[in-house]
Symmetry: C2
Amino acid sequence: MNNEQNKIMIIPLGGLGEIGKNMTVFRYGDDIIVIDAGLAFPEEDMLGIDLVIPDMTYLVENKDKVRAVVLTHGHEDHVGSLSYLLKQLNVPVYGTRLSLGLVEARLKENNVSGCSLIPVKPGDQIKIGQVQVGFIRVSHSISDAVGLSFKTPVGTVVHTGDFKIDQTPVDGKIMDIHKFAELGDQGVLLLMSDSTNAERPGFTKSERTVGAALDDAFRAARDRIILATFASNVPRLQQAVNSACKYGRKVAIIGRSLVNVTTIAMELGYLQIPEGVLIDIDEINRYPGNQLLILTTGSQGEPMSALTRMATNSHRVVEICPGDTVIISASPIPGNEKSVGRTIDLLMRQGAHVIYERDTGIHVSGHASQEELKLILNLVRPKFFIPVHGEHRMLKLHAKMAEELGIPRENIFVGENGQVFEFAPDEGKMTGKVAVGKVFVDGLGVGDIGNIVIRDRRQLSQDGVLIVVVTLDKQKGSVLAGPDLVSRGFVYVRDSEELMARAKEKVADVLARCETAKITEWASIKSQVRDVLGKYLFEKTGRRPVILPIIMEVDKE
Amino acid sequence: MNNEQNKIMIIPLGGLGEIGKNMTVFRYGDDIIVIDAGLAFPEEDMLGIDLVIPDMTYLVENKDKVRAVVLTHGHEDHVGSLSYLLKQLNVPVYGTRLSLGLVEARLKENNVSGCSLIPVKPGDQIKIGQVQVGFIRVSHSISDAVGLSFKTPVGTVVHTGDFKIDQTPVDGKIMDIHKFAELGDQGVLLLMSDSTNAERPGFTKSERTVGAALDDAFRAARDRIILATFASNVPRLQQAVNSACKYGRKVAIIGRSLVNVTTIAMELGYLQIPEGVLIDIDEINRYPGNQLLILTTGSQGEPMSALTRMATNSHRVVEICPGDTVIISASPIPGNEKSVGRTIDLLMRQGAHVIYERDTGIHVSGHASQEELKLILNLVRPKFFIPVHGEHRMLKLHAKMAEELGIPRENIFVGENGQVFEFAPDEGKMTGKVAVGKVFVDGLGVGDIGNIVIRDRRQLSQDGVLIVVVTLDKQKGSVLAGPDLVSRGFVYVRDSEELMARAKEKVADVLARCETAKITEWASIKSQVRDVLGKYLFEKTGRRPVILPIIMEVDKE
């Protein structure tokens, strides 16, 4: 038995020190199990980027050792990069039925086929390589979420996944707290636990409390109700449907992602809509407003979403009317506060009554707050602890809580993506590092956009571009055509004819000087054009467009 | 007496239905008084824009009637567009000393001279045209803030300015609640009141409570303290200085805006720093860490600010060390949550102990919460009410509160920028509209950047630009040079030589076809190039760069 057999390695490839693109390597000996394969949405300075996925180099390099991917739940930040992984690695994927249902649809979209998706049930134990993997039911803002246990000869590792402890979940299926307690009794070497809400004191409220708030809103509404929430929040959708049924409303669904999720959730039995309640969106005009609930996407004020289109009065079917009640059953994800506020304002200006975050009880988080995090720590009583899923300050705070609960400081590890954590029965340490990073997906390109392109886009976005074209005589170096100036995003040329005319003269001067001085290297000519023009334009406008001189050459003989 | 003499007109040019660029026209007969002249910071989709100011057309068109600008306080969103206004209109500006001190510095920066700045004291009454203007002390997150009263034969108008009701202000100068009560007793025709915090229940805490929290933090700190707050929050700075003195720390100040404000505030006596306490930033290494307080900008995670530079380890003087306590005494302005979070994380990673919003009491708002808003409404008992300064939903909520307090619904006006509100002794109504809008300041240009340029910048920022240049023979239309392709922000060409080579062939094909078909109109050639190339590139990359075909012509004969 070589040394590798005596230890467990944990390597987060994403999700440590950040919210999003969760992906963690569990390695025991020659068996690698990948926990989740998520994506992140681009930060605002990642111009033009569609998605961000983890750098999977470590997995590709250790291809022969990767035995499986295990999924905790079906949110994009946990399954969204799976299709990119499976294009490079043909490994089985284990997950609960709803998770796999959502994954399947996404794989199809991305033209990934021939994958082995293996459904598991909460409570199942599966042998993967030498590791016994257990799936433990947890509560979260999507159905069918699980935490994970990994039993090895070295010890047991527990990963909570994203979770909260909901004592009254909508589907009645309470988190398997017993299992966490049992594992704790048997002895747990390492716990990894969700830190998303580590900054929030107390307990997160039950999803069911939202049902009561929805009921109140439904009772008060006199006309149509339009409800926006996260497409994947099946328990929330179920509660909205329940209220609709209670108050005699038909349900129409708008928005591609919501239609996808509800279709899958209904097929798999996670969302129950009684016969005759669901109607097509094009049928809504057949019913009076007080018999309608429209479920829609756009709770984050996303520019292209159905709710935003309604707010800007550009939706194909739904026009907001005075009397409509719009319920935004979500809170803005950090960064989206302004777009959500704008959407609310636009809806109100059209006369809608808007119920939003400010209104108590209309949304609850899907993540455990401080007291829940402490409870899990106390139940599992791990020897070692790694707070996961969260930005650095959340991890730190979670670590501090663990310390307060009696875990020795030296047994708690706050790390970052790429950090290798090694555990033996009596030892835990942070050792080396593996390559990690943000891989940008832009259109069809994966990883082909790097810092240079992003920097160029940023510069273009600030002051636009000015292109200078000139055709020179190959023999004499004299100007045959141009210089012509074309700009985009710099000044609107019709307003600035004089500026552009003078700029052209400046370039012509440079070219004449170069000809006289017999300067023929294009690089030198271009750099002089850039300098003179850049200086002139900054002086006149205070702006620094990207200046692109292009020289062409024609042989006149 | 013509009809105009019997009414008061209120026309918000900025700040209604938005946070920022506050500017309101008060007009009685032929006397126009401008309340504040603020700016707004660009939204994230206003690419490359530096500032946003109100459209001042109405004032320019009524130049001869504008008697004065009156300022409520010195925040940028109330005084930041004054230099642009004064470049077009030569009118006196009334304000309290600190407001004018800040304005003066800004006017100098913008090369605006010869302005008449007239200092007033809270409590002063000044006759402007036929209007008696009163300045009423209020509490806010800057010293020397005032509300305004306008007495006319038609009735009295009260404007709160930005305010909160602080029972224990740091400078001991309590808001002149008596004056609001007195005006209410005498009868007020119209109240305009700050709606920024209309969504917050209860009372806003006193600024003084932050002093206690700072004191706690100072007591616990063992090494340097670095404190970031809004540069203009003089009461906050005073409390930080007080704590520094109490715990024997010297004070160094970093960041241009903070140096400006503190210099002015000290000169004018609003900020007291005892002799020998203030040291130059370059002297900090002479003192042990536990004898230092560094005041800095960057509480919003602004990319170029001093704190952000420290966080990214790129500050000229201050390097963050383990043991440093960093206090971010501010809450993120909506939209800045992510950059503030990032800054905190970076500081923590360098070992600093960071005290931030999550830590109770380290910041309080400068705006009145619901109970304070109700108190003012009850004190002033206006006949008519316009909620001002706030996004639409805040105005609506503030209006609802007023209605609950007994103001008839028809006497409450929720409007938007440009709306003309007219008031006679017994009548209030919304009548016409004047031109308003966002004027973009970009570099030296004011208002020359419109939607087309912004749209171009947005497109450039998404997928970059691809320029296609070709030189044609003037007589034959045949290609003399090119086509050449140059890209920026699209793909990094070294990685995509094949793509670009194929794209070039596509263009060459189009040009050959055009030559054969004797198509000579450049517009038609260009549009064919754009179509063919756009389609090809989207198919290959899923991206849509801006394609700019440029044709040059050379006469070979």
